[in-house]
Symmetry: C2
Subunit: 197 residues, 2 copies
């Protein structure tokens, strides 16, 4: 512990990893720059070199979150076969799982509280964009497959995103049990595909 060299070497990565863990296990309130520095074995002012301020760290976390979510989504799409409804169900379930496992991170990603007057950096916006594009592609596939109704794909995309986001919020707040998630998603998809149940 004390034989650490003067230069940490990978402080930025260490801070981000540790921050993501703290966020997941103890929430945003518990995330302190001084504490992260302590865990990394550097002085409290050292993080300053890598993150201008606390918000910069949070933005970096959000961006990494979008990158990971995008990754997971694309992997899920690759893994599923040609059955569109099964694919949609899998992607939706994956999204909700991410959102509930990393609820505090998702809040950061959707910036409810930081969006007061500060603009998110371009790299964060771009990472978010990629996720939304992936959702758009998924909608397009469904429409071409005739499983989703025709019409403005943008509206369908927003509606699907809203539904998943909402289901995740209900789980996070304890109003829906994790076991209810998959049937709830199936219900939601049934609405979209106009299959009566």
């Amino acid at each position: 512990m004390n034989d650490r060299p003067y230069h940490h070497g990978s402080l930025r990565t260490t801070l981000l990893d540790e921050a993501e863990r703290t966020l997941r296990e103890h929430g945003l309130e518990a995330l302190s720059l001084r504490d992260l520095a302590r865990q990394a074995g550097v002085s409290h002012a050292a993080p300053r070199r890598h993150f201008a301020d606390r918000q910069a760290l949070l933005d970096a976390l959000a961006e990494a979150g979008f990158v990971r979510l995008d990754d997971e989504m694309r992997k899920t799409i690759d893994r599923t076969g040609q059955d569109y409804e099964a694919r949609l169900q899998a992607v939706a379930a994956g999204y909700v799982r991410f959102a509930t496992r990393d609820a505090a991170l998702l809040e950061l990603m959707f910036g409810a509280k930081n969006a007061k007057d500060v603009e998110p950096p371009d790299t964060l916006r771009a990472a978010a964009e990629r996720v939304f594009t992936a959702f758009g592609d998924l909608i397009g596939q469904g429409q071409r497959a005739g499983v989703l109704p025709p019409g403005d794909p943008e509206r369908l995309r927003l509606l699907l995103l809203a539904t998943l986001q909402g289901i995740a919020a209900l789980v996070t707040s304890g109003r829906v049990q994790p076991g209810q998630v998959d049937p709830l998603i199936a219900d939601a998809i049934a609405l979209f595909t106009h299959r009566q149940r």
Copy 2:
């Protein structure tokens, strides 16, 4: 300012009102007990008599939020006529308006971050319950009117709630413009009522 009596008289209410305003205008981060005390013209330790700690104030805010939301919902229901779809649209729009106007408050109400290990007080749970019951009633009306599909009303209620919560989240995060809200809600309701568009 300085001619204030030793006993404030209505400190609790003053603190809550001021806190709600701060929450709306500057977000949760900006909410400090010491600052509230300062604005109320009392010492920083005075709020302690009314709120055991910061979390107790946040819980009280959340509870007041549920009470107000419940109030608004019931008023909206009373105001609308017999056209069920119009009523549903009005209630949904009202919910989303509340959620976007008081986004930080809604986060408190749905306790994403405080739900780490602390249990919310009974009064808060009860206030939340009343809102969810109102939603359940609304679903029941729709099913009896034959506008909503039959089947488990609980699932429909969760799905509707999730959709509205999700739409609000998209607005709050700036991914949906306020002007897009009403059409988006209309789209969502159309899905529920199985009207093709």
